[in-house]
């Protein structure tokens, strides 16, 4: 008994410390706005809500690194072709095959030797993976060195991450989360997005800007019928009728030779013409300006198509040489479209196309609905449990209820303090803990009742009840805790939120059931002469 007295003060201090700490962290969440008297050094942040509660978009994109490798191989192939011609190393065939390999057919074995020497000197990144002789000719298959290929893939993902981050920054989203996931995946979380479609268009575009000439020497009709001249492609311009929303596709016959790409851009801005229609004004960098000057000079009178991701945006006639390094993209844009296009052009193109692996979007109204329903469930579930405990255990029930309320305060406080995220399943976890939190007290109280029935006096019954129930409570909670920990490791966002509240709830409920209620009982028994426990 003397021991109990001396621990009395320490227990009181511990409980007050936990309770006040939790209350301080809870406070900003519970009030609409932190009042002016709330000191600066105390926590200011509300609990962080998951995307399923505040609305927003969750995306997992995969960078098609294979495409980045392929376009690198394509570039190397073009260089190699030109270089071999220059070096007079004669080949009868040279092209990219099987996506990421280069096949060269050399004139004869002597040329092959010359080629080998030259390749090792000038193209060390290419590795020969097979050579066969067919008559005089030697067919060689080349591919990229594995290490170089890995580098390419890595930098493609890095660059994609950077580009996407740029686009989101310029789009203006508060607290976005953009992170690399695994080898080639990118996780994007955009809270509070109100126009997910627009955000998706912004993120998903490869935004490969190309300038190509329109082939007007050949009949478009014939080309559309399937007779496409060598080196040409058919691309379309999408035109949306502003009234009906119907989309028309206008075909163009395009010479498939890129004269200039988005690399030449210095800046892209939205401007307005005399009819107040938005268009995009492009400024070119010095090299781009020189290039554009030459291209326009050589092709006066012809149509220059401005192509983004294989969609023709406009194809104006070049009226004169353009020297200032300024160009425009006209289209029938809405203001938002024009703004987003300018963002995309400024942020640069993705090094490879991206694929959506997962998308979860929750509108803000649904999120608010979920919050309201969650809070309602907590309140009603809480009231029912509180009433039940009082009816069943009388005054002891009241003590358990106090512990229950403290339990909720601790969970919210810990969540806020450690910047945990509250999700909808997390709220469910909170409700569930309300039900489970009293479990420990039920175990203790039933045990005490048994001891009372055996005729023990109040203090002894209390003592034995707590000590005998303790191990059972531990065992029973540890198993739930193990399950919660596994969930924490494995779960995605919302589920993780559930696992977090559940584990905090278990820990908190053990504390409140074992330490807090015990303290209250000890306090009462030491201050009053209790003949019969109200339990």
């Amino acid at each position: 008994m003397a021991g109990m007295k001396s621990t009395f003060r320490w227990r009181l201090l511990l409980i007050l410390f936990v309770l006040i700490g939790a209350l301080i962290y809870c406070f900003p969440t519970l009030v609409r706005e932190t009042p002016s008297w709330w000191p600066q050094f105390l926590p200011q942040d509300k609990i962080h809500l998951g995307l399923d509660l505040q609305g927003g978009m969750h995306l997992i994109l995969e960078v098609e690194t294979v495409k980045a490798v392929e376009s690198a191989v394509e570039r190397i192939k073009n260089d190699l072709k030109a270089d071999l011609k220059k070096e007079r190393i004669f080949s009868t065939y040279l092209d990219r095959v099987q996506g990421d390999k280069i096949e060269v057919v050399l004139l004869n074995p002597e040329v092959k030797e010359k080629f080998d020497v030259y390749r090792k000197e000038e193209y060390p990144r290419l590795k020969e993976i097979g050579a066969t002789q067919e008559g005089d000719r030697v067919k060689v298959l080349l591919e990229l060195e594995l290490r170089y290929r890995d580098d390419l893939e890595q930098s493609a993902v890095d660059q994609a991450l950077e580009t996407i981050r740029n686009r989101i920054d310029q789009f203006g989203v508060s607290e976005p989360e953009i992170a690399r996931q695994g080898k080639d995946r990118i996780l994007i979380q955009l809270p509070g997005i109100d126009d997910p479609q627009r955000a998706k268009e912004l993120l998903g575009k490869t935004a490969l800007l190309e300038f190509k000439l329109v082939d007007e020497d050949y009949s478009l009709q014939k080309a559309l019928a399937g007779d496409i001249p060598f080196g040409d492609v058919i691309l379309y311009q999408k035109v949306e009728d502003p009234k009906t929303g119907a989309v028309r596709r206008i075909p163009y016959l395009i010479q498939d030779k890129t004269l200039m790409t988005g690399d030449a851009l210095k800046d892209a801005r939205v401007s307005f013409d005399q009819n107040n229609m938005p268009y995009i004004a492009l400024s070119l960098n010095p090299a781009g300006a020189r290039n554009f000057d030459r291209i326009t000079g050589e092709n006066v009178g012809r149509k220059l198509a401005i192509i983004l991701d294989d969609n023709v945006y406009s194809a104006p006639v070049i009226r004169q040489r353009i020297s200032g390094g300024e160009a425009v993209i006209e289209g029938r844009f809405t203001l938002d479209e024009a703004k987003d296009l300018a963002i995309i052009l400024r942020a640069g193109s993705l090094p490879a196309p991206v694929q959506t692996l997962e998308e979860r979007t929750v509108g803000p109204s649904l999120g608010q609905d979920s919050i309201n329903k969650g809070i309602k469930s907590i309140i009603i579930g809480g009231i029912l449990v509180v009433l039940f405990m009082i009816v069943y255990y009388q005054l002891a029930g009241v003590v358990a209820d106090l512990a229950l309320i403290m339990n909720l305060i601790i969970i919210i406080g810990v969540l806020a303090a450690f910047r945990g995220t509250l999700t909808l399943p997390g709220i469910a976890g909170l409700v569930l803990t309300v039900g489970m939190a009293v479990d420990a007290n039920v175990l203790i109280f039933e045990r005490i009742r048994e001891e009372v029935r055996l005729g023990k006096p109040p203090r002894a019954a209390l003592e034995t009840g707590y000590s005998k129930a303790f191990l059972t409570i531990m065992d029973a909670n540890v198993t739930t805790f193990i399950a919660a920990l596994v969930l924490l490791q494995f779960g995605t966002g919302p589920i993780k939120g559930f696992a977090v509240t559940l584990s905090i709830g278990i820990a908190a409920s053990m504390f409140t059931a074992i330490v807090v209620t015990r303290f209250v009982f000890d306090l009462v028994l030491s201050k009053m002469r209790v003949k019969r426990l109200s339990i």
Binding site: D52, L59, I60, L61, P196, Q197, E201, L203, G204, G245, Q355, T356, L357, E358, E359, R360, T361, V362, G363, L366, S370, K373, K376, S377, F388, V391, Y392, Y393, L424, P425, A428, V431, L432, G435, M436, D439, V442, L443, E446, R449, R453, K468, T472, A476, N477, V478, T479, T480, F481, I482, A483, A484, V486, L487, Q489, F490, G491, I495, F498, A499
Partner: protein, 306 residues
């Protein structure tokens, strides 16, 4: 107040035959249903696919929605979400689009074409590609296995092996029946349902452990009693606890089930089934099994030692 009067003695061990038959029927019905459906009815989290939740300003005919999707070349199922007359629907498509702008825009256009752009709001879009679905399936299975192993290790450490056998059998029982009920009611097996299942795995053990603890305690006191009687007395002594702890949890889960909203409906349904079955199994499955195991493989040496 007391729900179970102290001194109650119900012969649970004697009734175990009937209980095993009930459990057997439930489990077999579930397994048959699973086989007939070719496995669990995986939601998009595990199977891949697209779910879109739309709210119309007033109730429309689901068939009209289906029709408008069909016109756009999209095959999907449409289901009322929430009560009748709310005007909220769930559209499910098996297809996914790897192209970001793709599918939801298409659906948006299809609905706008038929109902007008201002009459509806897309409240939720979930698209899971087949690759991610497969990943999640593997990870989900791993999670269940890891949780079971962790719990087994703990139980074997705290109790003797024969108790672990009963506990694991009861767990398997609870999980099988819950999955079975989901299959029988044709509900979707989704990520939140898996989370609920894991929670059940952890929680349904609570009751079992309470009973086991008491059996262990009583075995010290009742050395002369038959083991089956000791178990039966222990189950009776802990009965009010078992019912109360599950009861309070059940109260809040029922509240969640009816008021938590459609998004977590399946999750709370799984919890509901799991908690009821878990409570039942700790009395009627876990404890009798320990007795049966003891009969078949009596502890060596001294008659009972745990």
């Amino acid at each position: 107040m007391e729900i179970i009067k102290s001194g109650t003695t119900i012969d649970f061990m004697g009734k175990r035959g009937g209980a095993f038959i009930i459990s057997g029927i439930l489990i077999i019905a579930g397994i048959v249903s699973l086989i007939m459906h070719g496995g669990p009815n995986y939601g998009i989290d595990f199977a891949g696919g697209t779910v879109i939740q739309v709210r119309f300003s007033q109730a429309v005919n689901p068939a009209d929605i289906r029709e408008s999707l069909k016109d756009a070349g999209l095959a999907g199922t449409v289901q009322r979400f929430g009560g009748e007359g709310v005007g909220e629907y769930l559209i499910r498509l098996q297809t996914t689009s790897s192209d970001l702008e793709g599918l939801s825009a298409q659906i948006n256009d299809a609905l706008a074409g038929r109902f007008g752009r201002e009459t509806f709001e897309i409240r939720r879009t979930e698209m899971v590609g087949p690759k991610v679905g497969k990943d999640l399936r593997t990870k989900g299975l791993q999670a269940i296995i890891f949780a079971l192993i962790g719990i087994l290790i703990y139980i074997s450490w705290r109790f003797k092996f024969r108790f672990a056998v009963g506990a694991v059998a009861a767990l398997a029982h609870d999980v099988l029946i819950t999955i079975g009920v989901f299959s029988l009611t044709n509900k979707e097996f989704s990520l939140p349902v898996l989370a609920a299942l894991l929670t059940i795995v952890g929680y349904s053990l609570n009751d079992t452990i309470v009973v086991y603890d008491r059996i262990r305690e009583n075995m010290g006191r009742m050395r002369r009693e038959l083991f089956a009687r000791t178990v039966n007395i222990s189950v009776n002594e802990t009965l009010s606890r078992t019912i109360l702890t599950s009861g309070t949890t059940l109260i809040v889960v029922i509240v969640l089930f009816f008021m938590g909203g459609g998004v977590i409906h399946d999750f709370t349904f799984a919890l509901l089934i799991g908690i009821i079955v878990g409570t039942y199994s700790s009395v009627f499955v876990a404890s009798p099994l320990v007795v049966m195991w003891e009969k078949r493989f009596p502890a060596k040496g001294a008659k009972r030692r745990t």
